[in-house]
Symmetry: C2
Subunit: 251 residues, 2 copies
């Protein structure tokens, strides 16, 4: 790609949108400039553009994103077949096992939820399509990492910020790679309170009709009611069943 085939104004604007996050819902011009590394004048122009287009509100001091910004992500969710195809299966699955079921794909070092059927809340964090979790300590992340060549998964682990969310979180790349080998062999991953105390989950890969892993699905359950050791026993077959049914539907 040539230099001139890149619209840096657009790229800068996207950076500005991403500057808004969980802990930073309201941003002043200078905040955005700092967060994005853009010049203040540039950040200001991008923010004013967002406001002008209705993607943000501006009270003269702070900018806040408006729901219109959801159109952008929705363009993906509605345009991509995968979430639509998977959702009804998750609904059925969640109802059957009385636990939350989700589907996700990998984006860099994170898993991105693309569909979810929540039963009752077991996590403190609120997951919805678009939500992200670090791949290395999420069951779907393990499955997705295990599906790629060792070189790539190792590279992603190295890029990851491997921090211990709980005392049980695996953070050693070597042990993680060993775990990935095991996950690949057994065809599923179980996470025992590595992300949040009290939460266990189990995930299996979703293959398309040509055998390529295109996503993962999981079931999460409170550790109190379902010990990690029982996760596979209870939920592996239901998950595998869904994966089998979906195999021919995905490409």
């Amino acid at each position: 790609m040539r230099e001139t085939d890149f619209v840096s104004g657009f790229a800068r604007g996207l950076k500005v949108i991403e500057a808004f996050g969980e802990t930073t819902p309201r941003l002043a011009i200078a905040d955005v400039a700092k967060a994005t590394g853009l010049d203040r004048a540039t950040a200001r122009r991008c923010l004013l553009t967002l406001a002008e287009l209705g993607y943000a509100d501006y009270d003269g001091k702070f900018f806040v994103l408006t729901p219109k910004i959801l159109r952008l992500g929705h363009a993906y969710l509605s345009a991509t077949p995968l979430p639509h195809i998977v959702q009804p299966f998750l609904d059925k699955l969640a109802e059957e096992v009385h636990q939350s079921a989700s589907a996700s794909v990998l984006d860099g070092t994170e898993v991105v939820y693309i569909a979810r059927a929540s039963q009752k809340r077991v996590m403190s964090i609120n997951l919805m399509p678009g939500s992200r979790l670090p791949a290395y300590c999420a069951s779907m992340g393990r499955v997705l990492l295990a599906a790629m060549p060792d070189g790539e998964s190792l590279a992603l682990l190295k890029q990851s910020n491997l921090k211990p969310f709980t005392p049980r979180t695996l953070t050693d790349p070597v042990r993680l790679m060993e775990e990935l080998v095991r996950v690949r062999q057994q065809g599923f991953a179980v996470i025992d309170q590595e992300l949040e105390l009290g939460l266990c989950s189990i995930a299996v890969p979703l293959e398309n009709d040509r055998g390529r892993v295109v996503a993962a699905i999981n079931i999460g359950a409170p550790a109190a009611s379902v010990p990690a050791a029982e996760m596979a026993e209870r939920y592996l077959e239901p998950l595998k069943g869904v994966a089998r049914l979906l195999k021919s539907l995905l490409r």
Copy 2:
């Protein structure tokens, strides 16, 4: 705002993202140019920028959005308090009444789902945060329209493409305005299969601590199991209860 405080390259890029939709997941350069009204050369530059940044994939012919694009909408969902605050209440509500519960806000002529607890699927369409429905024929839309001054709601109705989704869909602006008056008086809206045959829903407004309507919540149910006439009887109190609890939590 001055002329130069607008980054048109950014605005054009956002237009390009929005060109992708339910029926148009894979777009060639010319498609995007047509859909956005941009010059082919410009559309190409925006698309290549998206691809370069990892927001889109390009196979030499078609562009497809990647899950990375969800970061943009997620910036809103995670940054905005409303969805987070409302979600647990919806979960509880959905579990209680064994039906799906949702929350939405208005964006132009559409309601945008910002949170949802789905019980079982009753609609053919798949709703998730970011999903949109025309306000005029959705229960939450009615409630949100009813909360604004007549002039504004009428203006929005006039902007809407009032098409009959089912034989029961109200499409006459005059009758819709009458309905809005009723909704405002009674404090809730019931939709009887106006959007999809077999689907009823009931919505109430969500007020913040100062009495301003900031969102709406609803419960949807299959018409077969819950006739429209029973919707209020069964679900109005649970909905009102949630609205009451939330009132002091919202600003």
